[in-house]
Symmetry: C2
Subunit: 336 residues, 2 copies
């Protein structure tokens, strides 16, 4: 296998703002989502908490798609702790324990330099190996808000997607406006200063993926939705050629009319792939609801499907395996 | 490059017993040696302390050999934190933060199971990649004493080497005797219970290397001296076939008459390679003293040389690069 999948974990205080993130049953539980996602990829259940991450309505984490694709295709996976409250209880590459701060009150990531530097060193080592492609996913509750803030600061008129069918666009806008006021900038003011946009409004995931992508000089598949647009925009701002990059996401992100995924990708100049997963026939409401705009993407679901498809499996094979995994979960936790 | 080098970091309280370890300028400083070694491999100087690890007499860490071989051959390297007081300020695979306890007073490693399990998961991921060989070095001050205790518990009449020309054999024996008394066992009593030997007398490095080696099913080069004998003995005790293992060390370990390297390797049934490095012509006493039995091995020096030799460099090339690196250090720190 010439591809390596990474799942990069980040937290930002923004995820605890009520209404901003549904990547957890409660705002407080979003703090545990990144390590729990990572653990679920390795075990039958997370260890840090004895249930998989769910939305407040009980929809399962997209890690279930990544896990399904991985069980089919057997690609190697490494977890990267870019910056989280807690370490996942799986072997993982430690970059930092710094979480992103609430950018309405202070710069989000004073430690961006250290995170980018260490992540770049890691990418440089991977570049010496036989791997020809990195597929980099993420788990970062609240990350679409930091992504949108970074994109705006860089001058993109982007709206990012959300794990909720009711994208809290007004709330995101208010938070970003407050952040820009605190920092004394307006949209586009940091177009020439991508690292300052990262420092002021970013999160550790963005910093780590930027660093890894700068160290690894071969193909990089940014496996995520609109958050990976922010990563792409920072990389482009730093002078990286977009030709070796692709964003792999799911059809649910592409179809989200509250966001501007394809438009912004085109503006940045990065090509995209959308995994054509279909959960409409699932026997479980938690999965069928993906078709209604719940969850949509995360934990590299689209990129993992990309790897499974390259290995000869179909999106239907992946959906079928997801169904099987969800059945296993229901048998263990009938309350899900 | 089909080989990946790992350097596994461990601490044990045993290293702070006066006289037991010279892998640091003072017993207290041995606590910093593993992260400082790891950092020196990535930077011009460690970051956690602004000087490379040295013996009390000022002999430089064998990390200088590993760094030299790496600069020549360009093999990929990952640091693994098996269990240390402090995290290295380089990207690293986190397994645990548990250090080995003083086995005279209590079992050394109650957490052995968790460390072996996590390390095995990491090895399993590496097994899915194109890597055909892992070269696993270590930095574990005091580790020859834990290694000797484990070997004795398993029934090997082994004496391990030391980073000092005056191997503290009597002190090691006294400490091991005290440990055996505390645990209520005699030499060989744990021959059928290798994990209990690890729990009672081991250190996190041994546990992690055992776990990684069980997860990765292809060739493993155990890059170290007599400490890797303990790893081999535990692996053999767990039923692993020794055919895919080799210990790569330096001639200085093989020539150490106070230890039983070749005899014990033969008894275990693991083949060995000894890097034929020669520092006798060095302009620096710190390096010439390697020929007098100082330091000898560590941080995978022998295994890194093995990788450089496989890449077409000679041991003389490695020695020449070491000389160059040491000159650079002296220019930065004339006090060395």
């Amino acid at each position: 296998m010439k591809s390596l999948m990474l799942v990069v974990l980040g937290n930002t205080e923004i995820s605890t703002v009520p209404g901003i993130s549904v990547a957890g049953a409660t705002p407080e539980l979003t703090k545990l989502t990144p390590p729990a996602d990572a653990e679920y990829l390795f075990y039958e259940m997370p260890r840090i908490i004895d249930v998989i991450p769910v939305t407040p309505e009980g929809h399962p984490t997209p890690a279930i798609i990544t896990k399904a694709a991985r069980e089919l295709a057997g690609f190697p996976l490494m977890i990267v702790r870019a910056g989280t409250y807690l370490a996942p209880l799986v072997p993982h590459v430690h970059i930092s324990g710094h979480v992103g701060r609430d950018f309405r009150k202070e710069p989000a990531l004073p430690e961006f330099g250290e995170i980018v530097r260490l992540a770049k060193l890691f990418g440089e080592e991977l570049n010496k190996t036989g791997f020809e492609e990195l597929v980099i996913g993420e788990s970062t509750p609240g990350g679409t808000t930091t992504a949108q803030a970074v994109l705006r600061a860089l001058g993109y008129d982007a709206r990012t997607s959300s794990a909720s069918p009711n994208n809290p666009t007004d709330l995101k806008e208010r938070i970003i406006t407050e952040g820009f006021r605190r920092a004394g900038i307006e949209a586009g003011d940091l177009a020439e200063r991508p690292l300052e946009a990262l420092r002021q409004f970013g999160d550790p995931m963005i910093a780590a993926v930027v660093g890894i992508s700068m160290g690894f000089r071969k193909n990089v598949v940014l496996a995520g939705g609109t958050q990976m647009l922010a990563v792409s925009a920072v990389l482009k701002g730093l002078g990286e050629n977009m030709d070796r990059f692709m964003i792999a996401t799911t059809k649910w992100v592409v179809q989200d009319r509250s966001a501007t995924f394809l438009e912004t990708a085109k503006e940045i100049g990065v090509i995209t792939y959308a995994a054509d997963l279909d959960f409409s026939k699932s026997e479980f409401r938690g999965l069928r609801d993906y078709e209604r705009g719940y969850v949509k993407e995360g934990v590299g679901a689209g990129g993992a499907t990309w790897l499974a498809v390259k290995a000869g499996f179909s999106p239907e094979d992946v959906s079928g395996k997801v169904e099987e995994l969800y059945r296993r979960l229901m048998e263990m936790k009938p309350s899900l």
